[in-house]
C-alpha cells in the first residue's frame, strides 16, 4: 500500500497501533548478532512452532516477534514476555516447550532462566528492574528490542516516521533546521560537531545537487552500537536521513555500511524496500511533493573509510584515501558536491528530536553535550552489552551500577574509550561525567562509544601496542607521518614488550607522537598516538618497568613473564586441561607444577584457576633461580 497524504499516514499509524494493542501477549526473541550466535533463531523458530502447534495464536492471541539487539548480549539468547515484562536469559531452543507449558500457560516463573544479579546473587524477573536496563534512557535506540526490524507496521506503531510526517506537513525545511539546532545534538561518530551547524553549512553551499550520507562504517574495535541500530531499527536511520534531506533539499542518499555487518545490510535493504513501497521513500514522499531515495553501499574493509573524505572516495569506487579538508565536505564532498555525512546514531536520533521537539532532547545531558549517548560496555566487566544514557553520566555509574563491576571482582585498572583514537582513563578519574569535552580533557575521546573495561590483568604497554598494531594495518599509507611513524612506533613497542627496551625509548616515543599529531594528514594519523600518550600519562611506571626492569607488572607480556603455581593449589586439575603445551604436571588433588621450559606464558592456566593459586613473576628471575 502506498501512502499518499498526511491523512492516509495518520490512518496507517492508527491501524498499526490498533494492531499492536490487539496483540498484548508477545514473546520477544532478541535476534541481534550476539544472540543469533548463541542460537536465538532456533529459539524463535521453536516458539513459533509451539504456538502454531498448540493453536495459541488463535486461542490467546500469542505471537512471537524477532527483534533487534536488546543489548545484553552476554546473557543471550534473551527472551522477553509481554505484557508481563518478564526476561529469560540464556534460553535454549530445547527448553521452549517447557517454557510455553509452565510460563505462558501456567503463569509459573522458571527461576533458573531469570537474570541473576552478580552484585547480590538475587534473581530478577522483570526486565525493567534489572540494573543494566533500569538506568538507561533510550533515544537513538528507542525501538530496538521492542520492534521487529523487518516489519514497517510494527515500527510505525512505535512512532517510526511520526517525526517525518510532522516535518513534511507541519514544518518548513528551515524550521526543521531550527529544531535540530535547539536540540543541541552533536555528531555521534566521535568528533562531536554540531549537527545543525553542519547542515547549515551544506545548505549555504552553492549548487543544486547535494547528498545526504550515513556513516555506518563503525570501525572502532569494541564498539557496536551502530550495528545494533542498523540491525534492530533500520527505519530510525532512514527516517532521520529523509528529514535531513528535506531540511537540506537533497534528493540522493547513501548509507555506507561495513562489510563485516552482513545482517545490518540485509535489514537496511529490506527496510528501504518496504519504505519505498509505502511511499516513505522515493518520489513524492507521503504525497508531500518531496523526492528522496537512499542506496546502500557496502564498504570493502578499511577502518580509514570511517573518515569522511575517505568514505566519500570509497563511495566513488576508489581507494579510501583521505584528502585535506581545508574545503569542507559540506561544500565539496561526494563527487565534489555539497554533502552532509552523519553517523548512524546521529541520524537515528533525528526522528525523535523532530517528534518530541528539540527542547526535549536538550533537557537531557550536560551544558555542551546534549541528549543521550549509546555506548558498548565491554571487556572485563560483568554485564557487557549495549547501553544508552544521558550525557554526563559518570564512568563509575556506568561501570559499577550498570556494568555490575569488574569481572571476577578483580581490581579495576582503566577504561578505554574512543577506540584507536581514544585513550585509557585510570581509576582516579572514574567520577568523570562522560561528555565530549571531559573525555578529551582526560586524553581520550568519545569516539563511537566503545567502553572497554580493563582489570589488573591488563598490561597498558600491551594495550597501546595493540592499538598501534591495529592502526599500522589500517593506515592508508598516503602520508609519511602516519605510514612511517606508525611502523616505527610499533617497532619501539615490539621491543618494549619483548624486553628489548632501551633508555630513551620514552623520549623517542614522545617526539614521534608529537610529529604524528601535528604532521599527519587525517584524524587517523593525528589521533593515532592517543592510546600511547594516555597510557604513558597515567601508567608511566609500567613503561619504566618494561624498560628498566625487563618486567611486565601485569604479567601479560609473554617474553617478560613466567608463571608458577603456589602452595594453596588444591589440585583441581583445571589448569592441566587448559594448558595448550602440556607444561603443567600434577595429579588430581595434589599440588601441580609448571615446567618453565615448556610454558609459553599464555596465561590460560591463570585465567581458569578457581582458587587464584597461580602467580606471575618476571621471567628474568628464572635465570637468577637457576644460578641459585
Amino acid at each position: 500500500m502506498r501512502i499518499e497524504s498526511k491523512d492516509q499516514f495518520a490512518a496507517f499509524q492508527a491501524q498499526a497501533r490498533e494492531r499492536e494493542a490487539g496483540r498484548k501477549k508477545r514473546v520477544l526473541v532478541c535476534c541481534g548478532t550476539g544472540c543469533l550466535a548463541t542460537g536465538a533463531r532456533e529459539v524463535a523458530e521453536a516458539f513459533a512452532y509451539e504456538i502454531a502447534e498448540r493453536g495459541l495464536d488463535v486461542e490467546i492471541g500469542l505471537g512471537v516477534k524477532s527483534t533487534g539487539c536488546h543489548g545484553f548480549c552476554e546473557r543471550g539468547p534473551l527472551v522477553v514476555f509481554q505484557p508481563e515484562g518478564l526476561l529469560y536469559t540464556k534460553v535454549q531452543a530445547k527448553r521452549v516447550p517447557e517454557i510455553v507449558e509452565k510460563t505462558i500457560l501456567g503463569g509459573e516463573i522458571i527461576p533458573g532462566l531469570l537474570y541473576k544479579n552478580p552484585a547480590d546473587n538475587e534473581r530478577i524477573p522483570a526486565y525493567e528492574e534489572i540494573p543494566f536496563y533500569k538506568n538507561q534512557v533510550r533515544v537513538a535506540m528507542r525501538n530496538i528490542g521492542r520492534i521487529d526490524p523487518t516489519d514497517l507496521t510494527d515500527a510505525v506503531a512505535h512512532d517510526a516516521y511520526a517525526g517525518l510526517a510532522k516535518a513534511l506537513f507541519e514544518m518548513t525545511p528551515d524550521e526543521v533546521l531550527d529544531e535540530v539546532e535547539t536540540s543541541g545534538q552533536r555528531g555521534r561518530g566521535g568528533a562531536g560537531f554540531y549537527t545543525a551547524r553542519k547542515w547549515r553549512s551544506c545548505k549555504a553551499a552553492p549548487g543544486d545537487r547535494r547528498f545526504v550520507l550515513c556513516n555506518g562504517d563503525e570501525g572502532d574495535p569494541g564498539a557496536f552500537k551502530d550495528r545494533s541500530i542498523m540491525e534492530g531499527d533500520p527505519h530510525s536511520v532512514l527516517e532521520g536521513m529523509i528529514i535531513g534531506a528535506y531540511a537540506l533539499g537533497a534528493h540522493d542518499g547513501y548509507i555506507y555500511v561495513r562489510d563485516e555487518y552482513p545482517l545490518a545490510v540485509v535489514n537496511l535493504q529490506a527496510a528501504i524496500v518496504e519504505a519505498r513501497k509505502a511511499g516513505l521513500l522515493g518520489e513524492n514522499i507521503l504525497g508531500s511533493g518531496f523526492d528522496f531515495d537512499i542506496r546502500i553501499s557496502r564498504g570493502g574493509g578499511a577502518f580509514v573509510c570511517g573518515e569522511s573524505s575517505a568514505l566519500m572516495r570509497s563511495l566513488a569506487g576508489k581507494t579510501g584515501e583521505p584528502r585535506a579538508k581545508y574545503v569542507h565536505s559540506t561544500e565539496k564532498g561526494l563527487f565534489d558536491l555539497p554533502t552532509v555525512l552523519n553517523n548512524v546514531e546521529t541520524w537515528a536520533g533525528i526522528g525523535a528530536i523532530i517528534h518530541h521537539g528539540g527542547a526535549w532532547f536538550a533537557s537531557m545531558g550536560t551544558a555542551r553535550s546534549k541528549g543521550t549517548k549509546a555506548f558498548s560496555l565491554v571487556g572485563k566487566v560483568k554485564n557487557t552489552g549495549l547501553i544508552e544514557l544521558p550525557m554526563g553520566t559518570t564512568l563509575r555509574h556506568i561501570i559499577y551500577d550498570i556494568g555490575g563491576g569488574v569481572l571476577k571482582d578483580r581490581p579495576f585498572k582503566a577504561v578505554q574509550t574512543g577506540g584507536p583514537s581514544g585513550g585509557c582513563i585510570p581509576e582516579n578519574l572514574l567520577d568523570l561525567p562522560v561528555d565530549y569535552e571531559r573525555l578529551t580533557e582526560a586524553g581520550s575521546m568519545m569516539g563511537s562509544g566503545g567502553m572497554i573495561v580493563m582489570d589488573d590483568r591488563t598490561c597498558m604497554v600491551d594495550v597501546a601496542r595493540y592499538f598501534l598494531a591495529f592502526l599500522t594495518e589500517e593506515s592508508c599509507g598516503k602520508c609519511v607521518p602516519c605510514r612511517e611513524g606508525l611502523k616505527q612506533m610499533l617497532g619501539i613497542f615490539d621491543a618494549l614488550v619483548e624486553g628489548r627496551g632501551r633508555q630513551g625509548d620514552i623520549e623517542r616515543i614522545e617526539t614521534l607522537a608529537a610529529g604524528m599529531q601535528l604532521g599527519s594528514l587525517c584524524e587517523l594519523g593525528k589521533s593515532a598516538p592517543n592510546p600511547v600518550l594516555s597510557t604513558l600519562k597515567y601508567f608511566r611506571s609500567e613503561y619504566e618497568a618494561h624498560i628498566a626492569d625487563r618486567a611486565c607488572p601485569a604479567g601479560i607480556c609473554r617474553d617478560l613473564t613466567a608463571f608458577e603455581i603456589m602452595d594453596d593449589c588444591d589440585g583441581c586439575h583445571v589448569c592441566f586441561k587448559a594448558c595448550p603445551t602440556n607444561a603443567i604436571e600434577g595429579t588430581i588433588k595434589e599440588l601441580h607444577v609448571i615446567h618453565h621450559d615448556l610454558c609459553i606464558s599464555c596465561g590460560a592456566c591463570l585465567d581458569v584457576c578457581p582458587t587464584d593459586s597461580i602467580r606471575t613473576f618476571p621471567k628474568i628471575e628464572l635465570a637468577v633461580r637457576e644460578v641459585v
Binding site: 548478532t33 550476539g34 543469533l36 550466535a37 548463541t38 542460537g39 533463531r41 532456533e42 548480549c73 552476554e74 543471550g76 563503525e218 570501525g219 572502532d220 574495535p221 569494541g222 564498539a223 557496536f224 550495528r227 545494533s228 562489510d259 563485516e260 555487518y261 553501499s297 557496502r298 564498504g299 570493502g300 574493509g301 578499511a302 577502518f303 563511495l315 566513488a316 569506487g317 576508489k318 581507494t319 579510501g320 558498548s376 565491554v378 571487556g379 572485563k380 557487557t384 552489552g385 549495549l386 577506540g419 566503545g450 572497554i452 580493563m454 591488563t458 594495550v463 595493540y466 592499538f467 591495529f470 592508508c476 586441561k577 587448559a578 595448550p580 599464555c602 596465561g603 590460560a604 585465567d607
Partner: protein
C-alpha cells in the same frame, strides 16, 4: 603471479549486469565477485575493468587496498578470529595460536587442501561475547582454545 585456473566468466557478466557501468560501482561489483568466486581471479578483474571503464591499475589498486578482497583462492571454510579490543584482552591471540597448532597455518593463510583459510578480522561488533570466532557463518562466542576441534568440526556445516 601464481598460476590460476581458467575461471567461468558468466558469473561475472551476471554481476556486472546488475550495476551501472561506472566507477562508483567498482567496490560493489568486487564484493559480489568475491562472494561468487571466493577470491578475485585476475581474468575477472580484467573484465571488470573493461566493462566499468576503470583503468586496470585502479581496479588492482582497489582490490589490494581493501581487506575484504583476496587475490588468492581461499579455503572452503573461512575462519575469522575477531581481534577487536574486547576480544584481544579476553584472549583472541590464544585462539590464533591454537589454530596454528591445529591447522599448521597462521593468520591470512590457507591450508594446502584448500579446506580452511584463517583470517584475523577487526571487531565484528559482538564484543559482549568476546573472544569471538566465526567459522563459516557460525559465530562462536566466549571461544576457548580447548574447544577448537569442535568449532572446526561443526563450523562449516552449520547454517546459522
Amino acid at each position: 603471479m601464481a598460476e590460476q585456473p581458467c575461471v567461468d566468466l558468466s558469473k561475472t557478466e551476471a554481476i556486472l549486469g546488475s550495476y551501472p557501468h561506472e566507477e562508483p560501482s567498482l567496490i560493489q561489483v568486487l564484493q559480489d565477485v568475491h562472494r561468487a568466486y571466493n577470491y578475485l581471479p585476475c581474468d575477472v578483474l580484467v573484465r571488470v575493468a573493461e566493462v566499468l571503464e576503470v583503468p586496470l591499475a585502479k581496479v588492482f589498486s582497489v582490490s589490494t587496498f581493501y581487506k575484504a578482497f583476496s587475490l588468492e583462492p581461499q579455503g572452503d571454510t573461512i575462519i575469522k578470529v575477531c581481534t577487536g579490543t574486547a576480544c584481544h584482552i579476553r584472549g583472541a591471540g590464544q585462539l590464533v595460536e591454537e589454530l596454528e597448532r591445529k591447522l599448521g597455518i597462521g593468520a591470512g593463510e590457507t591450508t594446502e587442501d584448500l579446506k580452511f583459510t584463517v583470517k584475523t578480522v577487526n571487531c565484528v561488533g559482538a564484543c559482549a561475547m568476546a573472544p569471538v570466532m566465526i567459522v563459516g557463518e557460525k559465530y562462536w562466542g566466549g571461544a576457548k582454545p580447548a574447544r577448537m576441534s569442535r568449532y572446526l568440526a561443526e563450523g562449516g556445516s552449520d547454517e546459522n
